[in-house]
Symmetry: C2
Subunit: 337 residues, 2 copies
DNA sequence: CTGTTAGCGCCTTCAT
DNA sequence: ATGAAGGCGCTAACAG
């Protein structure tokens, strides 16, 4: 395209080194022993010519792209960086490139972004919220290797899934509020409908209340959507309606930001008037004043594990069907500790 | 690989539709008019067979990958998400995929990550801190279309560069501290050596002091490296050494987090005892207490502009050599306003 | 408007 | 240990 002088090909290298292209290919791929002498000559020729093999040609010949496709919902937030970081580290370590794509923000779709058919990547890493069950089924039926992150496969399809322990951690957190800090009217800010993390966190919340014979009041369950603005709006409404509460489980840390803002605007003190706890332990959590009590999520590990599983799949091995990464409660000051 | 049954090719579609492969290719690429009737037949066949063209084959035939390579230093921080978001939006809009790669954290390298030769991507987006001057020269001499982000090309090479206005904004910010808030001993936390943003911010700082005949004291210039931990360590040292100061320009918002922590630990009040200002306007800035006065950086725009420039380059057009995006001061409470 | 054919650059049997 | 030749799937002239 840009340069008129066509880049050197394997033929150029072969000619320059006085060998056949198969030999060049062999030193390139170390697939078969080649005499040291020739290896040296070939490598010299490659260096001279500044030769680099054309990825497309190899792919066409081998039917492997050496590329992992990453499908994400939205490239936002504190969450996404460590995840990608984890994925990237094991991908490069295993010689894979990373092709990135976002599914757009309109919620789960039933198709991949059009560029992502099975021929651009050897396998797919699919984050929750990108593909609905139909979409997952479809890709799977095409025989595309894939692993799901924070989302269970439909119909018990044998698709590896990597996610985190949500329910028990939430229950422990809410019980902490009840037992340690004598809170009885605990507000729950939910995730978006269909979000599995949100679903299990809600289950954990309900279990904790039940366990201590506290009523589950409908007016104490409201949308937070793991979003600071939505959480703030919800809190403002609840304050306006004078619904009484003495604690709030914000669903995630991002939502906690909105909760803090609303509470501060209403001159309510944290944790004296209202205890606040989040989930994720994003880097934000330590910055908030008072520092946020939350649950640590090993998000980088999620990326690492998922990528490992995918690579195992590509190697014909059988990865763990479900990897449930442990989470741990982080007590800071916003709960009253 | 995974599926034994080889995926359908253009030949299968042609056979099924009763036409030649060129015709199929034509309806695929809309390069030449095809009769409606045949278009319909071909599309039906494609749908039946669940056909998707092999990207590698097209690439080999056309010498185009339809992929943009993104070279980043580290996938961390608030900074990176909006940048990637901007890049991604214009990439997909123009039919490009995104291949991501990190250069590792060991500072600028003189080579691309090995997977990133010119044959994997049509062009490269290179973020500051990934490639040193030698590296940039090298890639450029290969004729690879590229644009630099937050980094100027060496030797006045004609490589488009997209960056932001650092110096004037910093000067205005520091002058604000001087004029509005009567600060005279203003600490500067610098970026890493070689970081261009940091360099220009330091220049702005110096100009502001000069302009108001304030001395530039060596002990008031110390490393922050745009990193909260390093900034915090530096602040702790400065407090320990009882160096006197009444304000600090933290270099960026991330460093401001460390500064806040150190000042709080020393029971110094912001802004009464020490005024603090940052740079970037990351989402953190509003979360900090007191809310951080800073400079807004249109980081998503940087991504958008850079990608536009790269695409222009790929289209043979001549993009702006240097795009300097404007920044604006955001007055919040940490400066005393 | 449609079909035929020659590559694109590399890997991979198959010989040697 | 090395060379020769076919083919991966698609596009792009070139005919018709």
């Amino acid at each position: 395209m840009a340069s008129k002088i066509t880049a050197p090909t394997i033929d150029d290298v072969a000619r320059q080194a006085g060998v056949s292209i198969s030999t060049v290919s062999r030193v390139l791929n170390r697939t078969v022993p080649v005499s040291d002498e020739i290896v040296a000559k070939v490598q010299a020729a490659m260096r001279d010519l500044r030769y680099t093999p054309r990825a497309a040609a190899r792919t066409l010949a081998t039917a492997r792209t050496n590329t992992l496709g990453l499908v994400l919902a939205e490239l936002v937030g504190d969450f996404f960086s460590p995840l990608l970081h984890g994925i990237e580290s094991v991908a490069v370590q295993n010689g894979y490139d990373l092709l990135i794509s976002t599914a757009g923000r309109r919620g789960p779709h039933n198709q991949l972004p059009h560029s992502f058919d099975k021929h651009n990547a050897d396998g797919l890493l699919i984050f929750a919220g990108c593909l609905n069950d139909d979409g997952v089924r479809d890709i799977h039926s095409l025989g595309v290797p894939m692993v799901l992150l924070h989302q269970m496969p439909p119909d018990n399809l044998p698709i590896p899934c990597v996610t985190i322990e949500n329910k028990a951690a939430t229950r422990a957190l809410v019980e902490h509020l009840i037992v340690r800090h004598q809170r009885t009217r605990i507000l729950l800010l939910t995730g978006e409908p269909g979000n599995e993390d949100g679903y299990w966190r809600e289950m954990g919340y309900r279990e904790a209340l039940e366990r201590y014979n506290l009523p589950t009041r409908a007016e104490l369950i409201a949308p937070g959507h793991f979003d600071r603005r939505i959480a703030q709006a919800t809190m403002e409404r609840i304050l306006r309606e004078r619904i009484s509460f003495d604690a709030v489980f914000t669903g995630d840390d991002e939502a906690a930001v909105g909760v803090y803002a609303a509470l501060r605007a209403a001159s309510l003190r944290i944790p004296e008037d209202v205890a606040v706890v989040g989930f994720d332990d994003q880097s934000l959590a330590q910055v908030l004043q008072p520092a946020l009590t939350t649950v640590h999520v090993p998000i980088k590990q999620v990326g690492i594990q998922a990528t490992h599983s995918l690579i195992q799949l590509l190697q014909g091995k059988q990865p763990e069907a479900l990897t449930l990464l442990p989470t741990t409660m982080i007590l800071r000051s916003s709960c009253g500790c």
